[in-house]
Subunit: 144 residues, 2 copies
């Protein structure tokens, strides 16, 4: 899975905002894009630190904010109080099935649920801007 398109989008974003490219941002972006997981800032920090031991937490957070702004990343807030980051580019909207034991994230999609949500919002006079559906439970392995 190539990450070139995303890198290009980020480069454009940096240029359009009159920001600068930097080694650190480049590295953090690569680590994030090459890992198809829902990573926490800490996990990202640990991975990036291996390639650049002088990196600071602040740079991780600041870069992830930029990637989020550039729509390459989505911040995921789950019930354990730690923000996770997931790929957004070329990913359809989806929700999550989360194993509370091993923290596996499975992405799910349900047009039927989305339709029902719209119906409920409409009935209550709301203009829906976003939603969040997390299903928590035990995965096949952790049920035993």
């Amino acid at each position: 899975m190539s990450i070139e398109k995303e890198q290009e989008i980020f480069a454009d974003f940096i240029r359009s905002k009159k920001l600068k490219r930097s080694e650190q941002r480049q590295l953090i972006m690569e680590v994030f894009l090459k890992t198809e997981k829902h990573l926490t800032a800490e996990e990202l920090y640990d991975m990036v630190k291996k390639k650049n031991p002088s990196i600071g937490y602040a740079t991780i957070y600041r870069t992830m904010k930029l990637l989020t702004e550039a729509e390459l990343c989505r911040e995921l807030l789950v019930d354990d109080g730690v923000t996770r980051y997931e790929h957004l580019y070329d990913h359809k909207h989806h929700d999550h099935l989360i194993c509370t034991e091993c923290k596996t994230f499975i992405e799910i999609e349900s047009p039927e649920i989305e339709a029902l949500q719209e119906k409920i919002a409409k009935k209550n006079g709301f203009l829906l801007t976003k939603h969040r559906l997390d299903l928590y439970g035990l995965c096949r392995n952790c049920r035993s």
Copy 2:
């Protein structure tokens, strides 16, 4: 709407856990139960402080944990990072429609959505323990 039944449940809970009754817990419980809103710890603290100015934050948090254990309260985690508390006793399971502007919470219920969730969980081999559905948007008043 009477709160006697809930008070009785809490008294039983306290007894069964070999804890003690106290003025502070009684007061916090009353303030919580008499307010049919989704309160934050801070809001609760402010309200309780009016009746007992010496109350501390820690007592609010500790008491709300007890009420949650006693199943009189549910902790609600929404995207602004602040925990809110809502009544649980005699309240059916429900989700929320939240106005991001005025922070109005509307409780919603959808057996159809719940059924679809179970179906998705089953398909993925998950044993569902809980879920969370928040719909964010603008309410009728805030749309203008």
